[in-house]
Each structure stands twice: as C-alpha cells, then as structure tokens.
Symmetry: D2
Subunit: 142 residues, 4 copies
C-alpha cells in the first residue's frame, strides 16, 4: 500500500495546522507504513547535563508516528493519540534527534505503531515508544 501523501505535502499540511511547531522538526522520509523525522534540538530542548528532555523525545515519537499515519490515510483525517508508552534507553547526546516510526496496524478505528529514536550519528537507540491513535469515524471521540 503506497502512501497517499508525499513528505512535502505533509509538511505543508503540518505548517498550516500547527504553525507554532514550524521549524522544530522536519520530515526526512515517508514510505509505506513508515516515516523518519528529525528534531532540530536547540538549547530549549536540553536538560541540565546537556541531555535532551523527555518531553522532547515524547514529541518526536508521537509526531513521527503521526506523519506515518497521515501519509497512509490522507490529510482530511482527524486523529487523537490514545496511548503512548516510552522506554528511555540511553542518555541522548545534545544533538539533533532522529525518529523512525512504523505502523504495526492500520485499522479503521485504531492505528498502532512504534518509533525508535537516535541521537544523530549514533546507532544506539536512546528511546523506543509504542503508541495508538484513534481515527474517529465521523464525529469526535468526545
């Protein structure tokens, strides 16, 4: 199943819907049931000791999976994160972070997947997350 949207089309959509996040992350690649994103880490995303903060890693995992889902279902869809489970594995370096997300199941009502995060240039994962999104049928989940 090929993606319905390209990386460029998703970037335009996100810039329009989440203007405040513009420039924070960029989509590196979109493929069938997967996406790779970069988080442009700045001083604001660091913790004392020079490590990238937990909420920054949460954001990257969540967004990489969101992009993977958007690519498959198209820009008209509204989705809501219902569950995210994250394991922190190694202290990240104070550098850009890469997130690779993969859809494990794309159901009509629920999409489930995983994301692995790396500090750029290091092949040891710093965090791993699994998550589910509700894809509301017509009206909101409430």
């Amino acid at each position: 199943m090929a993606p319905k949207l390209t990386a460029e089309e998703i970037t335009s959509f996100l810039d329009e819907v989440f203007p405040q996040s513009r420039g924070t992350m960029s989509i590196e690649e979109v493929g069938p049931m997967r996406a790779r994103m970069r988080f442009h880490v700045t001083e604001a995303h660091l913790r004392p000791g020079g490590t990238v903060s937990g909420p920054t890693m949460f954001t990257l995992a969540d967004c990489a999976f969101y992009v993977a889902v958007l690519a498959m279902i198209g820009r008209e869809a509204l989705t809501v994160t219902t569950n995210l489970n994250i394991n922190f594995l190694h202290k990240p370096a104070p550098r850009d972070m890469i997130g690779e997300a993969r859809i494990l199941k794309l159901g009509r009502l629920l999409a489930t997947g995983e994301a692995t995060l790396w500090s750029e240039g290091d092949d040891r994962p710093v965090a791993h997350a699994t998550m589910s999104y509700a894809i509301p049928p017509k009206d909101d989940l409430g």
Copy 2:
C-alpha cells in the same frame, strides 16, 4: 513512612537544579508516597482548538511522580525515568492542570507509580500515566 522533604524544600531544590522550569509548575501538596502538582498552562502549552498538548501532560505526570519520589528519598538522589505509559482520556480544557502522583513501589533500585491528571475544576480525569524511575546505586546507569 513520612516524607523526608516538605513541598518548600523540594521547590527550592527544583529551582536550583532546573532553573529553566521555574514558574511552570508548583507543588500543591506532598504526603506519604504521593504528591499533587499544578501546571500553569499558558498559550505556549496549547494546541489548535484550545486543548493542552500531549508533551505538557507528559511533563506534568513525570514531574508529579518525581516530586513524590524526591519527598521520600531526599534531595541527594539522582533518578532517571526508564518507562512512562500514558493514556489520554478526555480533551483537556485550556486551564491549569492538576496532577496527582502516587508511588506504588519504592524499591532500592526502581520506583514505580501512577499519576492522574485533571483540568482544574473538572473531576473527570483527562489522562492517566504509570511510570518507573531507576535509582542508580552509586555510579550512573550508563
């Protein structure tokens, strides 16, 4: 088992260690194996549609549990979040958010607990999280 630190002592410690977070959250209450925190929600924490962002809820759950653990083990301890699982339940209101954390197990090496989050003035939880912290013995977990 009574807490070793008061809310005031933990606030001083956090202001010193995480100066950049000063003013974002405040400790409302600390008790045996539990803590209640307030997140001062501003425009910066909102998503389109006026709802509080996922990373903001992640931060509140993580910090409320951190405060509950600090209160019990004292300020000298270094801890590292190893796992956080969060279920998003209802769309939060664009208001301050309250997080109540409870320690389920305080082991020598691992602390595990849960946190429930509410929009202020609403008794329906907006999110629920469980999490574990590693409490390194002497040297780093690496």
Copy 3:
C-alpha cells in the same frame, strides 16, 4: 451511572461464553465503573519458588476490567483488549489473588481503565495494570 448487570448476571454470562474458565475466578463485587475479582490460585498457577506466574496476573487484571466494562455496557457487547500495560511490583504469595479494576473512561469506541492486584490478606499491591478495550460499533474491528 449504575451498572446494568449484577455480579450474578455477569457470572452466568461468563460461564456460558467461557465455560473452560469456570471456577478459575469469581466476582466479589461490582459497582459503578468498577469490579473486584478473586483468582483461585492452585499449583497450576505457581512458578518455581512458590510465586504466582505473570500470565496469571495478566489474566486477573484483564478479566477484572472486562467484568467492570460488562457491568456498565451489558452482556450483548463484544469487546477486544487492544492494549495492556502491567508493572510487577512485589513477589506474590502462593495464595488467592484479588484484583480491583476501575474504568477511567468509558467511550463509545474505547474503554480505558486500571487494575491493582493483591495477594489475599496483604495490603501491598503485587502488580498494577492499565488497559484499553475496543468496543466495535456493529461489525468486527478486523
């Protein structure tokens, strides 16, 4: 919101639908958005060292929440566990185990809740779980 079914009605339903589980567990109490179950632990559920096995605890957490949901939505509903996250806290004693489940959100499509497990007669929780169930609208989730 009062339960639609009593403990006795749910027991009859489960005996009919899951005849092979008859006698393994019993419902101790059903209330609004919650249920308490007992797992009748026998030799078959023990691990070397006399501790109750992980799958037994998984089963009790899942079933206690299932009963809490059934009580609220009635016996006609088909539900499917989509996610279960369990933290093992203390080594259980080789005795009956009690599980208390609580519904955190009962949506039209998704129910989310938590369960705490105890060895009978011990007030220290041995495990804590959160879980979600899909409640399919008309046809199967696929």
Copy 4:
C-alpha cells in the same frame, strides 16, 4: 557481542528450572541480542471462536525476551519482569505462534526489549510487546 549460550544450552536450562513448561514452547533461533521462539498452540490455549488467548501471547512475548536475555548474560543470572506492555493487533489463527524478541538495551541493572508475534505462516503481526527485566546485582530486588 556474541551470545554466551546456544539454543540447546538454554533449552536444557529452562527444562531444569521450569519443568512444568517443557514442551509448551521451543527455541527456534538465538542470535546476538535476539531470539525466536515457537509456542505449540493446543486446544488449551484457544478462546471461543478459535483464537489464541491473551495470556498465551503474553507468555510467548515474555519468554522470547527472557531467552534473548539469558543468551547474552548466561544461565547463572536471576531476572524479574518489571514491566510488560502489549498491543493486540489482529485476531490470531488457531495455529502455532512465533515470537521474535530483540534486546533494545542490556544495562547492568535493567534489560529492555521488544517482541513481535505472528501466527505461523502469516506475515501480519498479531501482537507487539515491549518489556523490561530487572537484573538484581547480588541480593534480591525484594
């Protein structure tokens, strides 16, 4: 980092330590930081409708990861599952189930990994789990 134990050595160890599980599962392959196991599904592991039960999938995910960890740290080690998060993706077929586990981090105190489960002969995953094991230093975690 090569495994310290072969599939045969781990099988002997498990037969000795968990005699009651003998014949339930078999190790198909062990490699660096990973293992593949087969669950021999029988009538006892099925639910009404002919689907494999949730606790059976929990068991396979947990054991496949246990085998991957044992292979790397050797048979003398005592480990304890501290957290397991499982997403159920598709209804399994009433056939043998294959579980592939991968270690994401092998720390001194904590090992974290993931497992993907398939019904034999079907390339669509039926479940995905992540889990952590505590590796107690000398004395028990308590």
